[in-house]
């Protein structure tokens, strides 16, 4: 059994349709520690000690947020800036995160097709997530293919979002139960296809 830490970041949760439901689903999964970063740090004053403690206590770290300007909402960046300190997460003696897993769970407005070299967005999601991938690499984390929900703006009603939320919950359970084929998950384009039925 692996312990899972979900770090959820949405600056306007009351306007969220997808992430809110995914977050609700994640909260329900046993063995998952759920942290709503914007709720905890409305003043961006992140408690570094507390966050480092939680990171070292968990095996799987999930960053869940909407995909803003091909990246994360600003508090996620602030979190990485502050929490992944030299000598703790990387650099000399910085081994706290070695061997852990980092997974991104994002929702994007555009369809899958626009995220390719011929598409409007010119890059794939994985390419755009390269800074996170590299951050994970530097800290000795294993970076898996992201969980992506495309066409977020078209998914309006609860009925179509609910199956996605359930899939996300199953993914978290698989990570918890260590039943996910990790090599495959690291190499994939996105992790969604590997979610057990």
């Amino acid at each position: 059994m692996a312990s899972v830490l979900v770090l959820y970041a949405h600056p306007a949760p009351h306007k969220s349709r997808i992430n809110r439901r995914l977050a609700d689903a994640a909260r329900e999964v046993d063995g998952v520690t759920f942290r709503d970063l914007y709720e905890l740090y409305p003043d961006f004053l992140i408690d570094v000690q507390e966050e480092q403690k939680l990171l070292s206590e968990h095996d799987v770290i999930v960053l869940q947020h909407p995909f803003y300007w091909y990246s994360a909402p600003s508090l996620v960046k602030e979190y990485l800036d502050l929490v992944l300190t030299h000598g703790w997460a990387y650099g000399e003696g910085g081994t706290a995160l070695q061997g852990k897993i980092l997974l991104h769970a994002i929702s994007a407005g555009g369809s899958e097709e626009v995220y390719c070299s011929q598409g409007r967005n010119r890059f794939t999601i994985r390419q755009l997530l390269a800074p996170f991938d590299q951050t994970a690499f530097l800290c000795g984390l294993r970076y898996l293919a992201p969980h992506v929900i495309h066409g977020a703006n078209e998914l309006a009603d609860a009925a179509s979002i609910q199956p996605l939320a359930q899939g996300y919950a199953r993914l978290l359970k698989a990570l918890r139960d260590e039943t996910l084929p990790l090599d495959q998950a690291a190499a994939a384009h996105k992790i969604n296809d590997l979610i057990p039925a």
């Binding site: 961006f44 004053l45 570094v48 929490v83 992944l84 300190t85 030299h86």
Partner: protein
């Protein structure tokens, strides 16, 4: 100006003001009494430094202060508000002038005066002193109370009624003497005279509405401030001149001009330009009134004068009190109204000298009346002191009881107790976020004002559980206590926690000690807020930025500091009653915090692979 006497008397007048007014103020007597005493001292009947015809000239000149004062009162009174005051002005004012004049006349006749001089005396003594009453009301911040507003309405009617009085006086004269002033008006046919008067008032309204604002706009463009001041004075002098020409009171004309200009952009400009003139001239006016106190008349018949002054004040106060009772004015307002207007007025001096001229009154009687009126004016500040110290305190406690709490016709999820300096920020922000808030406020005047601004506020004392029941506390999910009174906050928390243990309470705390107290009563630390913390910290941040500190880093440092302080509060809760332990924790924490910030500042320059804040990751 080449008259050395000018500087000498200016020196004496100003000296008396500068020396005596602060003393009177210090003794709690108010500035008016200080001026009056000062005037009496330097006057012809005490030290004799000023006085005689020169003193009268000073008085006439200083009456212009009263004109400026009424102009400024007009400035604060928009026409719509004046229109709403028509009831008190004509009802209350009309009854006061009529009944007081009648009562004085009756008494005068009972003491053997003939009918005509008795009528004149009645009319003269019915008037009160606009200058003293308004100055004192403003000084004591009573102008906006009901009693103050009603007093002003009566004074306004008195100023209006001076016009017919001036017209009636010649008819009372034993021998027919013609009035010398406003001769050209008298020369006109009878039907034309009111038309001219009316025309003058219309001219003021039209000029105030259309010409004056434009003129001011042009002057403002020159950027010469003194030019605006000069224009403001010119305006009032012009109005005063016009009014005397057509036989109206200059003060009344200035008041009308003020009302017309109340809505203009230049209102505040005018107010600040004229304020020093008003103050100085009024001061001079009060000094002159003091100087006119004829101690020889008083000394000749001290008992008679004293009895007359007492009788005048008692009679005027009694008449006003009866009218107020009849018109259902209650509580402290009735007392304020009665005591404030119990003196004779400055118009009495002019009317009395006219009465002598026209042989309506014997010179001796008139001089006696001058002394009585002047003394009654001098006594007025004392009556205000009686009101403030003896009467008002009895009513502040009672009047709050008198007004029944409002019926509360809505139940919101949030109840906010107190909508004063603190609560109004809480409430306004929450409402802006679309949250329904039931607001309870215990200051009746404040409630009325808030309603004018369109806030739905209920009057009542939130510390009474019955009111909280009416506000729907059973259904509420939050009670916010924003009361200033610490004892009331604690009482309310205790009672509500006992009756509704599940209701979440958020409270304003006056200081650290009150936070500890509230936490001791079971409130969560995050549900109590130190009322000064936020604003003080904000000011400190601005100060640091004024010193050139970087904005974001300073803002963050402030948040860190705030959080640190909050942690300290948690540490202090268990020991807050032990002074030594408390002090030692506070000391330790402060050293710790200083070191932390120092470390941040020191480490930055020499560790290039660290971020911009202590414990930050590098920019790879």
């Amino acid at each position: 100006m080449h008259d050395p006497h000018f500087f000498l008397s200016a020196f004496i007048y100003l000296g008396a003001a500068v020396l005596l007014v602060p003393v009177a103020h210090r003794l709690g007597l108010g500035s008016v009494l200080g001026y009056l005493i000062g005037g009496a001292l330097i006057g012809p009947f005490a030290l004799g430094w000023v006085g005689g015809t020169q003193g009268e000239e000073a008085m006439h000149f200083a009456e212009f202060g009263v004109v400026i004062m009424l102009f400024m009162i007009g400035l604060e009174l928009e026409p719509a508000r004046l229109w709403r005051m028509r009831g008190p002005i004509f009802g209350l004012g009309g009854l006061q002038v009529f009944l007081t004049a009648l009562a004085v006349m009756g008494i005068a006749m009972a003491f053997g005066l003939e009918a005509r001089p008795a009528i004149a005396t009645g009319l003269i003594l019915a008037l009160s002193s606009t200058a003293i009453v308004i100055q004192t009301l403003q000084e004591k911040a009573l102008m906006r109370t009901d009693g103050g507003a009603d007093s002003f309405a009566v004074l306004l009617f008195q100023d209006i009624s001076v016009i017919p009085m001036l017209a009636v006086f010649p008819l009372l004269a034993a021998s027919v003497t013609k009035l010398e002033h406003h001769g050209w008006l008298q020369a006109l046919p009878h039907w034309a005279q009111p038309l001219v008067t009316l025309g003058a008032v219309v001219a003021i309204v039209v000029a105030g509405q259309f010409i004056v604002p434009r003129g001011f706009a042009i002057l403002a463009k020159t950027g010469l401030r003194e030019l605006l001041t000069a224009a403001a004075l010119l305006l009032i002098v012009g109005v005063a001149l016009l009014m005397t020409q057509v036989g109206l009171s200059p003060a009344l004309g200035a008041f009308v001009a003020g009302v017309v200009l109340a809505g203009s952009h230049y209102r505040h400009e005018l107010e600040s330009d004229l304020e020093p003139f008003k103050g100085l001239l009024l001061g001079l006016f009060f000094l002159a009134v003091g100087a006119s106190l004829d101690f020889s008349v008083i000394a000749a018949k001290p008992l008679l004068v004293a009895a007359l002054v007492a009788a005048l004040i008692l009679l005027k106060a009694a008449v006003m009190f009866i009218i107020a009772t009849f018109l259902k004015i209650r509580g402290s307002h009735r007392w304020l109204l009665s005591l404030a207007l119990a003196q004779g007025g400055e118009f009495a001096f002019a009317l009395l000298s006219m009465a002598i001229q026209q042989e309506i009154l014997e010179a001796e009687t008139a001089r006696l009346l001058v002394a009585v009126v002047a003394l009654s004016m001098a006594v007025t500040p004392l009556l205000f002191i009686i009101y403030e110290r003896v009467i008002a305190p009895r009513y502040t406690a009672i009047s709050r009881e008198e007004r029944a709490p409002d019926r509360i016709d809505e139940h919101a999820p949030v109840i906010l107790a107190g909508f004063g300096r603190f609560g109004n920020f809480v409430g306004r922000f929450m409402m802006s976020q679309g949250v329904k808030v039931t607001v309870l406020e215990s200051d009746p005047d404040h409630v009325d004002m808030l309603r004018k601004f369109g806030f739905k506020v209920f009057y009542g004392d939130a510390t009474r559980l019955s009111l909280l029941h009416a506000a729907g506390i059973e259904q509420a999910c939050l009670l916010i206590i924003a009361l200033a009174d610490q004892a009331k906050v604690a009482k309310l928390v205790t009672e509500v926690r006992e009756k509704f243990p599940k209701l979440r309470i958020l409270a304003r705390a006056h200081d650290y000690d009150q936070r500890f107290e509230l936490m001791g009563l079971g409130l969560a630390a995050e549900d109590t807020v130190h009322e000064q913390m936020g604003s003080a910290q904000e000011l400190a941040v601005r100060a640091l930025r004024a010193l050139g500190k970087p904005a974001y880093a300073t803002e963050r440092a402030a948040r860190h500091w705030r959080r640190y302080d909050e942690e300290t509060v948690h540490l202090l809760v268990p020991v807050h009653e032990d002074e030594d332990a408390y002090a030692s924790i506070v000391r330790e924490r402060r050293i710790e915090l200083t070191q932390l910030f120092e470390k941040d500042r020191a480490e930055l320059p020499d560790l290039s692979d660290k971020g911009w804040e202590i414990s930050r990751a590098e920019e790879t």
